[in-house]
Subunit: 344 residues, 2 copies
């Protein structure tokens, strides 16, 4: 029997109080595990990096149990099955699931989100536009935001992987899409690549004036990825019956101490508006409805995406902090092996 | 032709920036109007006093046009038709509608909410438990709050005319009702008269500890009449999927400058909770469904109410400010004539 390959793993070393930094993680080496009966051994190809990871390592009450100190960082990944002792999975299958920030994972079917069937699309899309990001935009906008044709849909972090999909799905549904992004490069991306009807740089000065120009008819749906001053400005422009989808709070560096902001009650009351929190995992039973729709939009060129690929697992520890600094353009991924490796 | 009777009218004299005070109004005398063709002349018996009046006289953008300076104060009232030139209305009919703070109003059918049919119940109930207050509790709790049997329903201003109805309707729907009120008298009223499962005095000290005791299983529905620190404490205890009905902001003395509070986004996100503003007038087409249900609950003793009746129109100017000081127990009304006067 050949020796087990080396499994590089990124462990959580300390619990961050705010945004996870490189020094909160450490990289160790261990032998790759052997799959138990009912498991597959997955060789990860792409690891995901996402804003929600801040919540996954936070000690503050959250929608999932925090990653323990000394544990492999929780993460979605795309990998190839290199050994299968689980019914229905075969060597060479491309799969996406909760495989962690590591080279190899021995997992049961419960950790596998799905087998990737879109062989005409790059496997990395399973972590972005066909993964949690695309699903988040799809269900958050359509189910919680309930856009109607002619509505003005505003989205923050609009050049990001969720925001860009929100803008494009809003357009597909006949809405006016308005993107808020940080810096001229991202604004240009919103307009030129993702087809927003209007987009502006929230760092460029007068947020109120920019919103007035971009939303002459007010705001019907606000897909909020940021909280903070951007949201405060949008809230003042809600139309009667508006829907605010609370998807993320990227602009809030820490919730300890708990930040204050302008009270929302009067906006909600006067405008009979709704703010609703949204966590994609609640929609797990409905993912399968969305994947073929999203894939067809990608094939038709109606749903474009960007990827920001870092090469090598050594980039993982600092990758979340970089995300919060806004240094990526598109879905941030870490490529840790040749995607064609092991293909049948 | 006999001389027109004197019509005492309460006019808005100045626009308050916060809570309307007695000096913002003046009482004048004019001859009672004659009804035009298609109108009735109503002799008001009871005038309503309600927290929403603060919004009706506010210059800040609101859900209705503000009352103009020099105009009769907008108000619901119960009155008797003393002359009719409108089809379907007859002398002696008891009606409720937007008749203003005055003795006499000449109005068309569009100002009449309904003819009072419950001859077995006091006519004043048409302004309270069978009026906007009962309707607000009914549609706000059931349609926006969507309580399920076994839910914990928390309501602020719980001894008030809306809050007490919310608590009782929650009980009728199999929920645990928790009332928050100001002072021991109101707390006793909640427990002894309105049957709340728990009630406490928000002025008595540790709000967090009181909520923990009253809501051992968290909060599923919060019917918010106050905003402010009471709401901030409740928001920390929302359960997954909780619904917050924003019905009023009684604890906020002024929105200029706009007050700040703890940000709600993280609560909403982590708990997939919803906050939604609610204005009863949006439900006007559905009122007729609720009246017989509310009236039957009143007759069955399941929906009890209190009234706080001031005698004489001279009490009107200061009545809103008194409401915000919490000096009333139950629905505040002003009786300006003998209710039996003119009965057929």
């Amino acid at each position: 029997m050949s020796q087990a390959p080396v499994n590089r793993q990124v462990l959580l070393k300390s619990r961050p109080s705010g945004i996870p930094q490189a020094e909160d993680f450490e990289i160790v080496e261990a032998p790759a595990p052997a799959p138990a009966d009912g498991q597959v051994l997955v060789r990860n190809l792409f690891l995901s990096v996402e804003p929600a990871m801040r919540g996954w390592v936070s000690a503050v009450a959250n929608y999932s149990q925090p990653v323990g100190i000394g544990e492999v960082m929780r993460s979605f990944a795309v990998g190839r099955v290199v050994a299968s002792r689980a019914a229905g999975y075969h060597e060479g299958d491309l799969v996406v699931g909760m495989f962690g920030w590591q080279d190899y994972a021995a997992v049961g079917p419960e950790a596998i989100q799905r087998r990737i069937e879109e062989s005409d699309l790059p496997p990395s899309t399973a972590l972005g536009v066909l993964g949690l990001n695309g699903l988040t935009a799809y269900f958050g906008l359509l189910d919680v935001g309930q856009p109607k044709s002619g509505d003005t849909v505003v989205v923050s972090t609009a050049a990001g992987s969720v925001g860009s999909a929100v803008g494009q799905i809003a357009k597909i549904h006949g809405c006016r899409s308005v993107g808020i992004a940080g810096g001229p490069t991202k604004v240009a991306l919103c307009l030129d690549e993702f087809g927003f009807d209007a987009a502006f740089d929230y760092k460029a000065g007068d947020l109120d004036a920019a919103l007035d120009r971009a939303c002459p008819n007010g705001v019907d749906v606000y897909f909020d990825n940021t909280s903070g001053p951007i949201s405060d400005a949008v809230m003042k422009r809600l139309n009667v019956g508006a829907r605010v989808v609370i998807c993320g709070t990227a602009s809030v560096a820490s919730w300890d101490p708990w930040p204050k902001g302008p009270r929302v009650e009067r906006h909600l009351l006067v405008k009979r508006a709704r703010m609703q929190g949204f966590v994609i995992f609640d929609y797990a039973k409905h993912y399968a409805e969305a994947w073929p729709v999203l894939a067809d939009w990608v094939r038709a060129g109606k749903l474009r995406y960007r990827e920001d690929i870092l090469d090598g697992i050594e980039h993982a520890p600092g990758a979340i902090a970089g995300l919060y600094r806004g240094e990526n353009l598109g879905k941030r991924l870490i490529r840790i092996a040749d995607p064609d490796q092991g293909a049948q």
